[in-house]
């Protein structure tokens, strides 16, 4: 059974004469432990698709199942709870909160997901160690390198053991070495946690880490593995 499933999803952004059909009959499934790369040119709708998959946007038509739950059928509060408990996000910019240390940034996500203080502390410590971030745990984002920041963002995305990880150009702002380190950490740890991973990217460096590749063109998804 897939962890993330989109069926016949249609999505229009904008209103009236400015309305643009962004997603057209999208059907895709991502299974536990699978790493799916979604490639496509800028403006092809990758971010919108991530928004729909993560329950941030409601599609005009179609069904979205997240960890077995139909997210368009529930109210905003329930959707928020599903998101915080079942989804991990990695953004192009790390988007860490400046006022918190690396450790606190991760801890905050764990607490938002409903982990107890003790469980959140343990899981944060474990992940920061796995990502070689233990020495930077007490540093603020402005004191971290770009690669370190993004690895903290990976820890934040995984700390609550989400069923689905959605990543938007996670290596887009990193150099080759840091990009590889982030991609490797994200995919290996997510697979270890048996999470379904959907990564939107232009970055060919990510291809070796993927189990499957998809192309998004003209609002439709095509299999790019063949």
């Amino acid at each position: 059974m897939s962890t993330l499933s989109l069926r016949a999803v249609r999505m229009t952004r904008g209103h009236g004469r400015r309305a643009v059909r962004v997603l057209e009959d999208i059907t895709l499934e991502v299974h536990p432990g699978e790493v799916v790369l979604l490639e496509g040119p800028s403006g092809s709708g990758k971010t919108t698709l991530l928004g729909v998959a993560g329950g941030l946007l409601t599609p005009d038509q179609g069904d979205v199942m997240l960890a077995g739950q139909p997210i368009q059928a529930v109210n905003n509060d329930a959707r928020r709870r599903i998101r915080s408990a079942k989804v991990g996000f990695v953004f192009q910019r790390a988007n860490l909160l400046d006022g918190l240390t690396a450790r606190e940034n991760v801890l905050l996500m764990a607490r938002l997901a409903g982990l107890t203080q003790n469980a959140a502390e343990l899981e944060t410590t474990r992940l920061l160690a796995l990502l070689d971030l233990a020495p930077c745990a007490g540093r603020y984002p402005t004191e971290l390198s770009g690669g370190e920041e993004q690895r903290v963002a990976v820890a934040r995305a995984l700390v609550h053991r989400p069923a689905v990880v959605l990543a938007d150009e996670p290596t887009g702002s990193l150099d080759a070495e840091a990009g590889r380190a982030v991609a490797s950490s994200l995919t290996s740890l997510a697979q270890e946690q048996y999470a379904a991973v959907l990564i939107c990217t232009h970055d060919a460096r990510l291809e070796p880490f993927a189990t499957r590749r998809l192309q998004l063109r003209d609002g439709r998804v095509f299999d790019a593995s063949v």
């Binding site: 928004g51 953004f91 988007n95 996500m109």
Partner: protein, 378 residues
């Protein structure tokens, strides 16, 4: 730390703006407490003199129910003293003469620092209606001595042992008094006959002050004196004090209320602007938090907690500064009397916290307009 605590910390801005806001709140706190402190100081000074426990009743001529305003030409004849003394319960009756008289330091030959102050003529050194308290020195012992409010002495540049000029006569400063500065003017105390001579008054006084046998009810004796001498007015200590407080605060209170309200409004505006700025500047952070599943309630609580922290820092700093200012002014510039009361500080803290939170609520509405997809923008 719980989620709202972490969120409040996350909103901390390492740049100076939050500190400027806290400083702004502190400044507004000092402003409001200073105004309240000045108000209380004036009331305390009035209570110190007009409410002095040695005097139970004040007998005043028609049209003069307080020390500050009223007819200076209408006076009580000194001949009345013996008649009042004969009333049961009356222990002592003594005259007090009030007059605004010019005074200057002997060394100030050009008269550059000549001030017209409220002179109280009484029977020196220990008569009723004399100085309520001393900061230094002792009461005047004769016609050629004066006890001067310490703020007035500071203005004149004189101290105990110096000489001042009053009505063309050289008079030695024997003491500096406390609780005799009502901001608009200060008191000085001289011998009754000297004051009468300078003011050109003969055999009359502004008030007769009465001390009663403690066994007698002041209100009852006051009625009896009033019945016996219907042309004059008789006030108990409480009534006379209330009259004086009314006079000194009547002009002061509306202005004080207005400025204090403006201070509170300014502090609220600062907090509102800060919260608005935080939300606008941190849109991406809020978008990211919404995407991650932070509830509107936890975000609101985080923002409110952040605002509350700044307001609290500002109020605590402001209260501390106001007390420090009170001590500093008392030490270096006693002409500005302050009496910052703990209850005022508590009141101001509660008021500022409440208005700060209300001011923070309006910008919080804009949180609802943040699209979580903003977090995906590079």
């Amino acid at each position: 730390m719980n989620v709202s605590g972490l969120l409040a910390r996350a909103l901390r801005n390492r740049r100076g703006r939050p500190w400027l806001t806290a400083l702004g709140v502190a400044t507004c706190t000092v402003l409001v407490l200073t105004l309240a402190g000045a108000f209380h100081s004036v009331r305390n000074s009035m209570a110190s003199y007009a409410g002095q426990p040695a005097v139970d009743l004040w007998i005043a001529p028609p049209g003069s129910d307080n020390l500050i305003r009223g007819s200076f030409s209408s006076l009580v004849p000194l001949a009345l003293i013996d008649s009042v003394r004969s009333i049961p319960g009356v222990q002592q009756v003594q005259p007090v003469l009030k007059a605004f008289l010019p005074i200057q330091a002997l060394t100030d030959s050009l008269g550059e620092h000549r001030y017209t102050l409220l002179a109280i003529g009484y029977r020196v050194p220990d008569g009723l209606g004399g100085p309520p308290a001393f900061a230094a020195g002792r009461p005047p012992k004769g016609r050629h001595q004066i006890a001067l409010d310490r703020a007035a002495a500071w203005k004149l540049g004189v101290g105990v042992g110096d000489t001042v000029v009053l009505g063309g006569r050289k008079i030695l400063v024997s003491g500096l008094t406390r609780g005799t500065n009502i901001l608009a003017t200060q008191f000085f105390f001289v011998d009754l006959t000297a004051a009468a001579a300078i003011a050109g008054v003969t055999d009359k006084a502004s008030f007769l002050v009465v001390r009663l046998d403690p066994a007698f009810d002041p209100a009852r004796v006051a009625r009896e004196i009033g019945d016996r001498f219907p042309e004059d007015m008789v006030f108990t200590r409480g009534e006379f004090l209330a009259n004086n407080e009314r006079e000194v605060t009547a002009g002061f209170l509306p202005l004080l209320t207005l400025i204090a309200t403006l201070g509170i409004a300014a502090a609220s505006l600062l907090v509102g602007l800060l919260v608005h700025g935080v939300i606008e500047e941190r849109r991406t952070d809020f978008a990211m938090l919404i995407a991650l599943g932070a509830s509107g309630r936890s975000l609101t609580m985080g923002v409110l907690r952040y605002a509350l922290t700044l307001v609290s820092i500002g109020v605590i700093t402001g209260c501390g500064t106001a007390w420090a200012l009170e001590a500093l002014l008392d030490w270096r510039i006693p002409v500005i009397p302050l009496s910052v009361a703990p209850r005022d500080a508590i009141g101001v803290a509660v008021l500022f916290v409440m208005t700060g939170l209300v001011a923070a609520l309006a910008p919080l509405i804009s949180l609802q307009t943040i699209d979580p997809l903003e977090a995906f923008r590079p």
